[in-house]
């Protein structure tokens, strides 16, 4: 009986701690959503109000007055394109690292080293490169100058590729080589083996890498802030636009932040099953 009580207390303590940690994570989101429905006079009062008359005025201001859906569209185009490029280049690179051991591990480590410095360290070279490329005919044609989507697509691809390669290498390493050998003996070319055997088996890993890359692209602020002005600005820069000289419009900021969070939240909830499967895919090695 005493042992059962002790076990119950341990479980209660464990779940209590989990709830506290999750509360810390979820509370800012809860507060953001709550603020987005508050009228201006209830936003910054002390003590904070949990009971108020909700309104959609903040959303109206963000969507109609500030054209926030334009930022959503930009972010969607840039993030999805960048994620597709990362997945294509990353999966091919990761496969070559996993199967052919390209560079004896040195190249793989060198790729990771690009993640070791902060983004701010390379923002000036990126700015100068895209400014100069944007002045050329090719740059104008491809849209890779300053304040153009191409600049952000390339930047995000460059910055997310090392992470994607490192994540995918472990997934490819877990696929038995014998399956590929069998497919080769059946007469499939190397590329067909890749397309018909390896990629379908690594699909959970590719899915989870895609989800993470998309989240990173969607939430990125620094590159978007420095490399864009108006035409190619993303949601994070759009939220920042509510920080005016007259003051910070907290209600519309919360509404804009809620709008920018919702697509990712729905997407991640829809992909949740694949993400869990992908994250546990490489967990057990025989």
């Amino acid at each position: 009986m005493l042992q059962r009580d002790s076990s119950f207390a341990k479980e209660a303590l464990r779940y209590g701690l989990i709830v506290i940690v999750l509360g810390f994570i979820v509370f800012p989101i809860f507060w953001m959503v709550l603020t987005s429905f508050k009228p201006p006079q209830d936003v910054m009062v002390s003590p904070p109000r949990f009971l108020f008359t909700p309104t959609l005025d903040n959303y109206y201001h963000a969507i109609v007055d500030k054209h926030f859906l334009f930022y959503i569209k930009n972010t969607l185009v840039i993030s999805v394109t960048s994620t597709i490029l990362v997945i294509i280049a990353g999966s091919l690179a990761a496969y070559s690292f996993a199967r052919y051991n390209v560079g004896d591990g040195h190249v793989l480590f060198f790729i990771l080293s690009t993640k070791m410095f902060p983004a701010i360290a390379v923002i000036l070279p990126y700015f100068l490169i895209f400014r100069n490329i944007g002045k050329t005919d090719v740059g104008r044609f491809l849209g890779i100058g300053l304040d153009q989507p191409g600049a952000l697509i390339i930047s995000y691809t460059m910055f997310n590729l090392p992470f994607a390669i490192w994540l995918l290498v472990s997934f490819f390493q877990d696929i038995p080589r014998e399956l590929e050998h069998s497919a080769r003996l059946d007469g499939l070319s190397r590329l067909k083996v890749l397309r018909k055997v390896v990629f379908p088996l690594a699909a959970p890993g590719i899915a989870v890498t895609g989800v993470f890359t998309l989240i990173f692209c969607w939430n990125e602020f620094l590159f978007a802030y420095i490399l864009t002005r108006k035409n190619a600005s993303t949601v994070t820069v759009g939220v920042e636009s509510f920080f005016t000289l007259q003051g910070i419009l907290w209600g519309p900021v919360a509404a804009a932040a809620t709008i920018s969070v919702l697509p990712m939240m729905v997407f991640v909830l829809a992909m949740q099953r694949y993400m869990v499967r992908g994250l546990t895919f490489g967990a057990v090695r025989g």
Binding site: I18, L22, F30, V33, F37, T53, P54, T55, M265, L269
Partner: protein
């Protein structure tokens, strides 16, 4: 229903609550003469929808667990 299932269902229930608030404020509130009544009814509807979702998730999780236990029992009996 284990903790992670309860958390997941609770989170989705909160999203449903927020969704009802959005739809209500955007499409239904202007039909009400009195805003206070509208807010009260909205909160009741949103809470009922969220709780109903949570109960449904709870029942589904319980049914899945019972089915899994029955499957395992049948397998064990088959082996014996």
């Amino acid at each position: 229903m284990n903790f992670s299932q309860a958390w997941d269902a609770g989170f989705r229930a909160v999203l449903i609550y927020i969704g009802v608030v959005f739809v209500w404020l955007g499409l239904i509130e202007h039909r009400f003469g009195d805003q206070a009544t509208s807010v009260t009814v909205m909160n009741i509807v949103a809470a009922v929808a969220a709780v109903a979702f949570f109960i449904r998730a709870f029942r589904r999780a319980k049914a899945e667990r019972l089915k899994a236990e029955a499957d395992v029992r049948a397998l064990m009996e088959g082996e014996i």
